[in-house]
């Protein structure tokens, strides 16, 4: 009897799907075995990907090429990666782990700068501009469209303002020592709670929809595997 790759992968997928779904009856060894196996395989696969798709093409092979060609002038560009690589490897030794701080500091600093710049140029400023310019051109449009734009823009503006107001925690202290937010802020915060709740509900629905889709795909895969087996037999 010859087992095809599809048969093996189908059988393993069926097995591990059942093992994961066994969590419905509680935590059990089958579920743990499946989880541990997935974690291990994912880690191994990630390490393999890093070695073969990052280090090899971007560090080892260029270095090998330089050594082979003798063009050591290009080695200057590889000095920083090699130093960073060596410093990170120092974490293996607790005594020399401090050396890795140089590389980590560089990575964190660069990452923070990139993140801030990207957030400013890619999210904050464009979102402000979009909110401000939402009503641009609406006045020149027909009335029905203008009403639609006004309502849509109004809701977006209201949702943005009230959601920000909800996270405003400034308050004045009363003579009896208690603190209470201002009435306007309190009202806006209450409205903001509605928008925030709606957004979280939409996210939850999306999570449920995504999970349901994954479940459907898994069950459909099992059904297809079984049907293929029975169909073949």
């Amino acid at each position: 009897m010859i087992f095809s790759l599809d048969l093996v992968t189908g059988a393993l997928s069926l097995l591990f799907t059942v093992m994961i779904l066994s969590y419905l009856i509680g935590d059990n060894p089958l579920f743990k075995v499946a989880v541990y196996l997935f974690v291990g395989v994912a880690s191994g696969y990630a390490a393999t990907i890093v070695i073969w798709q990052v280090l090899m093409p971007k560090l080892f092979l260029p270095t090998w090429n330089i050594i082979q060609t003798g063009d050591y002038s290009r080695m200057i560009l590889l000095a920083a990666p090699w130093l960073g690589f060596a410093f990170i490897l120092m974490k293996i030794s607790p005594r020399l782990a401090g050396t890795a701080r140089i590389t980590m500091a560089y990575l964190v600093g660069v990452g923070a700068a990139v993140t801030i710049v990207g957030a400013l140029t890619g999210t904050i400023i464009p979102q402000i501009e979009a909110t401000v310019n939402f009503f641009d051109g609406a006045i020149s449009k027909p009335a029905d469209q203008m009403l639609e734009i006004a309502l849509s823009g109004g809701v977006i503006l209201l949702g943005t303002v009230t959601s920000l107001a909800y996270f405003h925690f400034g308050a004045r202290q009363k003579p009896d020592g208690s603190a209470k937010r201002a009435g306007v802020i309190n009202l806006l915060a209450w409205v903001g709670r509605v928008f925030i709740g709606s957004a979280l509900g939409a996210v939850f629905a999306g999570v449920y929809a995504a999970a349901l889709t994954a479940l459907i795909e898994r069950i459909a895969s099992i059904v297809g595997f079984l049907m293929s087996i029975f169909g073949r037999s």
Partner: protein
């Protein structure tokens, strides 16, 4: 019955016959009476007390014991040390050494009441445990034969002499007749009674009666009362005190009978006639001769030459004789095995300083006397004899006790030793010695003195040129300097001594040791060391009933504060396992049924949202065979949803535009999921020759994305197979990001979509971005669509089904195959959500009335 006929020794417990008066074992009187007049001190074995002795004393004893052994080996050398010229007691030593019976006056021998030395030969051997402080040597008693005949009658019994021990001999060996007055009479004599009338011999009483001053005679306590103390009270007393000769420089140390004699002499100064009748028949001849020679004495004193008159007793002549080779210098009573006073060279360290200063063999207590030139009792000062009785009874200052250890002092007659006023006084060395001139004046001018004719040995002492003349030393000075504070603190029976309270304010100037020169640093009072165990106090709190009541109330308050308050919690609907299993069974059952059946009875929504419409429009607006960058960033768990959402769009795009697809993954699994996507839902395109380029994993997160946006060729130089990517036909004429015709984001993570949107914001230019997102990421990507940063969004299975149905004629059909199960599942979720909400609302409505009623 047998016990009644026997007598048990109170000391050693030995059973003795009923007729035995002395214990056969320890020689303790069995009559129960401690001491009897004339009774010789009984030698006691105080070996058991040795452990309590100070260490230095034990060392000294050991050293002396060794030296004693040497002395026994060399008796002539030991008994004849070189005497200094000033040693006025050198004659005593010579007497002792020569064992000359004739040199001791009879009166001195008889007054002690001890027996002849010949009896000593019959004395039983010393017990091995005897100490030098207890017993002297047998040779110490050889002078007892010199007892004058006129005093021989005072000896009550000669038989007791056979049992006389070394203590008695010690006293006999003392050069002073004062010592002889303390000689124990005999052990067989009647008990000694410390009455004032009994301690004086009859002949002295008669003398006192003649003088008419018997009532003013000082109390015998000052002299002999200590001797009447029971041996049990002071075990070492018979040894220490008796072994220590009491040579006093103060006239108060004189015995009563001598004081009385002096008083008599004072009553009739310069009149020998008045003295002679007073002596009466009891007066010995030698005293009479002394009186007769009173007139010649001063001339002899003035001449400065020692005169040996025939009137003087022989023993005095010998004592006062110049030191010679034949006459051995005086030594302490022949030392026993541990005799520390044997010689100067063998003295213990605690006596060494004094000895070294004098550089002779005379003990310090004798040297002080020598410096004082004359014993006070011999000076016969008229004024002093008329002092009040209390002054006369004042404790004599015994300079020889200065360096004595405490235990010796305690054994000594306490009034003599410790009743000295504790006043700061210079030490012995600093104390001005009694001047010879004073003594001479007394001797010359005091024609009324009893002993105007001084013995030779006293005359030698007077003529000592090396001692400067100074004013007489007071008793206080000598006393305070003689007793260190630490010894005084250790002194026993201190509190019982009258006048000891004055010691509490002792400001004694320390003379020796590390504290030398300091004054009053060592408390000499009785409170220095506790004399009894401290009182045990109970740690139990004594409270009354009211306090207990209050304490109980306070405890109740504290218990109420610390007691945990039980909070009433609302009964919540727990996650029932049955409910969980039921919902799971329904969902799985529905999906299984629809999957097996392949049902498509539920229609796909007809309406197309704007974001989906714009996404399809943008995809269809790109040029033919245009390069399209696809960023794959989703996990394997979302592969089913993402493939179902993206496949229709890509199928449409490939069908109509034949784009050159370049895939890049911003997560580790993206590259392999790309292969799965292209070889799964779009497999038929690949099989038909559609090619694509998989650049693989783009490391670095946002930094990597930004790097790729700025220079794609540098960030991802090779594809997943390792071939240079940017030289391939798929990326022909593409060097930067803005050269791509379309950027499609396939992601299930809103953050990943935001990273791509943000980091490529400036690099992509006007290149449209279409997002194919998971249903859970779509709400967060929606703002970017509203802001125009994302041209269109296809979200989840819902968006894929719409694209598939509306724009792709139902191809590839993946979304449609899941749609029925998806629709039922969403409906069940809606039902369960609403149902659960209503149930909770109903439970809340039921609790509100009860809660209000409760209030």
């Amino acid at each position: 019955m047998k016990m009644a006929n026997t007598v048990k020794c109170p000391l050693c417990g030995t059973i003795n016959p009923p007729d035995q008066k002395i214990c056969q074992n320890c020689q303790t009187p069995l009559s129960g009476e401690s001491f009897q007049p004339g009774q010789a001190p009984i030698r006691k074995d105080t070996g058991e007390l040795e452990p309590i002795l100070p260490e230095w004393l034990r060392d000294a004893r050991e050293t002396a014991k060794q030296s004693g052994m040497e002395e026994r080996l060399n008796p002539p050398e030991q008994n004849q040390p070189a005497a200094s010229p000033t040693d006025f007691l050198a004659g005593l030593q010579s007497q002792t050494a020569a064992d000359d019976d004739e040199e001791v006056p009879d009166w001195l021998a008889s007054i002690t009441g001890v027996s002849k030395p010949k009896a000593r030969t019959e004395e039983p051997a010393e017990p091995t445990g005897a100490r030098w402080v207890e017993t002297g040597r047998k040779d110490d008693f050889q002078q007892e034969e010199d007892t004058p005949d006129w005093l021989a009658g005072l000896q009550p019994s000669a038989g007791g002499a056979e049992k006389k021990d070394e203590l008695t001999s010690d006293w006999d060996n003392a050069s002073s007749p004062f010592q002889n007055s303390f000689q124990p009479l005999s052990e067989l004599e009647p008990p000694f009674t410390p009455s004032a009338s009994d301690d004086t011999p009859d002949w002295l009483k008669q003398m006192a009666a003649d003088a008419g001053e018997m009532k003013s005679e000082p109390a015998p306590d000052a002299t002999l009362d200590w001797f009447s103390q029971p041996p049990a009270a002071a075990p070492s007393a018979p040894t220490a005190e008796s072994a220590t000769p009491f040579v006093s420089s103060a006239e108060s140390q004189a015995p009563d009978w001598l004081s009385q004699l002096q008083a008599d002499a004072a009553a009739s100064p310069g009149s020998q006639e008045s003295f002679a009748p007073a002596a009466g028949s009891d007066t010995p001849d030698w005293l009479s001769k002394l009186q007769a020679d009173m007139n010649t004495g001063p001339q002899e004193e003035e001449s400065g030459q020692p005169a040996y008159t025939v009137d003087s007793p022989d023993w005095l002549q010998d004592l006062g004789g110049p030191p010679s080779q034949d006459a051995a210098p005086f030594a302490e009573p022949a030392p026993a095995e541990s005799e520390p006073f044997a010689s100067d060279g063998e003295l213990p360290s605690w006596l060494a300083p004094e000895e070294s200063k004098k550089s002779d063999s005379t003990p310090i207590w004798l040297k002080d006397n020598s410096s004082a030139d004359t014993p006070a009792w011999l000076s016969a000062d008229e004024a002093k004899t008329q002092q009040p009785a209390q002054e006369i009874n004042a404790p004599p200052v015994d300079d020889g006790l200065i360096d004595m250890p405490d235990w010796l002092k305690s054994a000594a007659p306490e009034p003599m030793v410790f009743e000295q006023p504790a006043q700061p006084a210079p030490g012995i060395e600093a104390a001005p010695p009694l001047t010879a001139a004073a003594f001479t004046d007394d001797a010359t001018s005091g024609s009324d003195d009893l002993f105007t004719e001084m013995p030779d040995w006293l005359s030698n002492a007077v003529e000592t040129p090396s001692i400067p003349a100074a004013e007489p030393v007071s008793q206080e000075a000598l006393a305070s300097g003689s007793l260190p504070g630490w010894l005084e603190a250790m002194r026993p029976m201190e509190q019982t001594i009258p006048g000891s309270a004055s010691l509490m304010s002792d400001q004694t100037l320390e003379q020796r040791g590390a504290l030398a020169g300091l004054q009053g640093v060592l408390p000499a009072g009785a409170g220095f060391a506790p004399t009894s165990k401290p009182k045990a106090y109970s740690n139990k709190l004594s409270v009354d009933d009211e306090q207990l009541k209050h304490a109980g109330i306070f405890e109740q308050i504290l218990a109420a504060e610390t007691a945990p308050e039980v909070l009433s919690t609302e009964k919540t609907l727990g996650a029932s396992r049955g409910l969980r299993w039921a919902i799971s069974a329904i969902l799985i059952g529905v999906i299984l049924v629809t999957s097996f059946m392949g049902s498509q009875f539920l229609s796909v929504p007809i309406g197309v949202p704007n974001e989906i419409a714009f996404a399809v429009s943008v995809a269809q607006a790109i040029p033919e065979n245009a390069p399209v960058l696809v960023a794959m960033d989703y996990d394997a768990s979302r592969a089913g949803e993402m493939e179902a959402a993206a496949a229709p769009l890509f199928d449409n795009l490939i069908l109509f535009k034949h784009p050159r697809l370049t895939f890049v993954a911003s997560n580790e699994a993206g590259s392999i999921l790309t292969e799965r996507f292209m070889n799964g839902p779009l497999a038929f395109h690949v099989q038909n020759g559609v090619t694509y380029l998989n650049l693989g994993y783009l490391a670095g997160g946002q930094v990597g994305i930004r790097s790729f946006a700025q220079n794609p060729a540098a960030a991802m130089p090779v594809d997943i197979t390792g071939q240079p990517a940017w030289t391939l036909p798929m990326l022909q004429d593409v060097k930067s990001l803005n050269q791509f015709a379309l950027i499609i984001l396939v992601t299930d993570d809103a953050d990943a979509a935001r990273d791509w949107i943000e980091q490529t914001q400036s690099a992509r230019g006007v290149v449209p971005v279409v997002a194919v997102a998971s249903a859970q990421a779509a709400p967060l990507i929606q703002p970017y669509y509203d802001s125009g940063q994302v041209a269109g969004v296809v979200s989840g299975l819902y968006g894929g089904a719409i694209v598939e149905r509306q724009y792709n004629s139902g191809r590839p059909g993946t979304s449609r195959g899941y749609w029925d199960a998806y629709s039922i599942g969403m409906a069940l979720a809606l039902v369960f959500t609403l149902g659960g909400g209503f149930i909770n609302w109903g439970l809340g409505m039921r609790k509100q009335p009860s809660a209000k009623g409760g209030k």
